[in-house]
Symmetry: C2
Subunit: 398 residues, 2 copies
């Protein structure tokens, strides 16, 4: 049978998420990949999770965990997850809280609740590519907002709000993916004020906030929310383990309710075992010592990569960010005609080193002079060698 | 802030899934509930799952399990899950297979891939209410097909296909939810032929097929599929544990690919720990002995309920199905003016016993003379007492 004429409009021409497609190309174990966004292997707390899982499944609530649960989430995790969000100044009660199957589901459920075909979502330029991918599945329109060194340009945000009348503004305040930039305190407050003034809903996505290795911790945008227009989404993928697919959304009760109705239709509820593991992990206070263990590793990897960039990259032609946390460094060639999409396969073949071309991170198509480099998933030695090879390749070929 | 004007069309007026809403009303532990569709507590294989989880999380692949995985699914489970599907005659390879976060996600991803606003999906009359709920989130239109004792009326199916030109036909062949009916072998073949002839895609949902306690096992509709128009969806919720949220879809490679692109946007991938547990459970051959243990219990509960119905229900006014498997018995009052929606709260209050009104299971609104009774989640004693109370209530009030 032929399906070509039958696909829905939303998926008809949608290609796979660019990064997840790259992963398949990188099956070759000799390739050093700076393409992913995986937490460092070897740092996932398997002993603690193993002990907790064992306790849960041999404990008196084991059957409850294996049975169906409520869509809203496992009650203990609603409590401990909310407390976790409060670490960034998020205010809320249980009724404001929803367990999600990874932070990304928070974006999906928000778009499900709000976005009709043609509705505009403002995003940072560049932004998290999964956000753009998800938005396409709702036939929404992404419009990019200019970005300064300290994130979103507030003036451009207000202009774009006036011009495009967006329903939603999506933003990562701490160590954005892909740029690694952090929004200043003033800008967080300004975002809250301006969006409230114009009745724009904010999705504040905070998957990386705990992975800070320099600079001062800042309160979330949500912490300044007086009108209920900010929905805070966080994930345990970078702090505990991505394979568990568990996160938390906190927002206005009515929005959380709509997201819950959406989630009923999507996956009924998040895996109870994942939820119970994350709950006990948080409750036992295991997160703080774990962060103390992993942050210095991320810091040293970032420093290794930033150092290698200074040594090997053609810095007269490309500039890189130097993030205070998170997993990514962002590079931008001054010459906009540089095409990092086009040379990707050639580069991987010749250098055995992979980056992600920046083009997938922009609302607008055709921006090919940027790249994202991940430092969490390679060793210091691989980082040094890989950046050297990439730098040489760029010098010779671009 | 006010959100009323901002909700998406798809969720604007959508209420919560009726059954999941009832669960909240039934928090009172004195209420005997025939409303759910939960596997029997006490029969979930917690010892085996606990041992397997421990093995996985202390084994050499523990970190791989805690790390991000592929959207398609955990490779070993793609293999063992496909083998599981083959128990019902399903043919396919790994490229035809996708791991889903519970069987319901299979329906969601299929509608995401195919359904535009206004597109028609044919369903059995009555059908699985989550299917109707999910369809609403895609603004599709459900049209009911008449049903005989042995399921779907084939003539009406063909007529409705000609009249409504549906993209998809959704059907549960074994022990349908809510009626408990099973499709005859001839009808399975006929469905395959007719849908292929008219180019209609079939979602064959088989969550209950393994829970057969009488009659002969039948091959799936998918087993007769020659053109690739049938997508087979199954779940481990009723056979292993619903809390793990894991299932399998098998279909044409192009459809599986579209579902995968949809799933990338929805939850990235299913919990790896759930996937690895289900995989080892299947690989170790634990399913067969487990089914041997649970099927007699389901049988005895069904017989207790069917027996109590014969004793206590006003059978001159209502008829019930007598299923060969699954979790549900369906009742239909001959008088169409009987309103089981309206009397629900009164009945629960007076009898401490809950059913689900059938109205939520129909594509058309306003059919209030039917009810669904679940027998898996109550003890034999509760079944006897509950049906007695319900029967008396119906005799006195309807």
């Amino acid at each position: 049978m032929e399906f070509e004429e039958m696909w829905s409009d939303r998926l008809k021409s949608l290609k796979g998420n660019a990064i997840r497609e790259i992963f398949k190309l990188l099956a070759n174990p000799n390739v050093v990949s700076f393409a992913g966004g995986f937490p460092t292997l070897g740092l996932l707390p398997k002993k603690e999770i193993s002990a907790i899982a064992n306790e849960i499944l041999t404990g008196e609530d084991a059957e409850k965990i294996l049975q169906y649960g409520g869509t809203e989430g496992y009650s203990p995790l609603l409590e401990s997850g909310l407390n976790y969000a409060k670490r960034f100044g998020v205010q809320g009660e249980i009724k404001n809280t929803l367990v999600i199957s990874g932070g990304q589901q928070g974006i999906d459920l928000m778009f499900k609740a709000f976005i009709n075909k043609g509705d505009v979502v403002l995003v940072e330029n560049p932004t998290y590519l999964a956000c753009l991918h998800i938005l396409k599945t709702y036939e929404g329109v992404a419009v990019g907002v200019d970005s300064d060194e300290d994130g979103i340009n507030i003036e451009d945000l207000e202009n774009k709000i006036k011009t495009y009348r967006p329903k939603i503004f999506y933003v990562v305040a701490d160590f954005s993916n892909p740029t690694g930039k952090t929004l200043s305190l003033e800008k967080r407050k300004a975002i809250c004020e301006i969006t409230a003034k114009y009745g724009v809903i904010v999705i504040e996505d905070n998957p990386y906030g705990e992975i800070r290795f320099s600079g001062e911790k800042l309160p979330s945008i949500k912490s300044f929310d007086k009108t209920g227009n900010v929905v805070y989404v966080t994930s345990f993928s970078k702090t505990i383990a991505p394979g568990l697919r568990t996160g938390i959304a906190v927002g206005d009760e009515r929005i959380i309710r709509k997201m819950t109705i959406g989630k009923q239709a999507v996956d009924v509820h998040t895996s109870n075992l994942s939820q119970a593991i994350v709950d006990l992990y948080l409750r036992r206070g295991l997160l703080q010592p774990h962060l103390k263990e992993i942050i210095p590793v991320y810091k040293s990897k970032k420093e290794a990569m930033y150092g290698a960039i200074q040594k090997y990259m053609p810095l007269d032609r490309v500039k890189f960010t130097n993030p205070d946390g998170g997993l990514f460094i962002w590079g931008e060639f001054f010459d906009k005609s540089v095409d990092l999409d086009k040379c990707f396969m050639d580069c991987v073949t010749k250098t055995d080193t992979a980056y992600v071309s920046g083009s997938s991170f922009f609302a607008k198509e055709g921006i090919t002079n940027c790249l994202r480099l991940n430092y969490s998933n390679a060793s210091i030695e691989q980082i040094e060698n890989g950046i050297k090879k990439l730098g040489n390749y760029f010098k010779e070929n671009l």
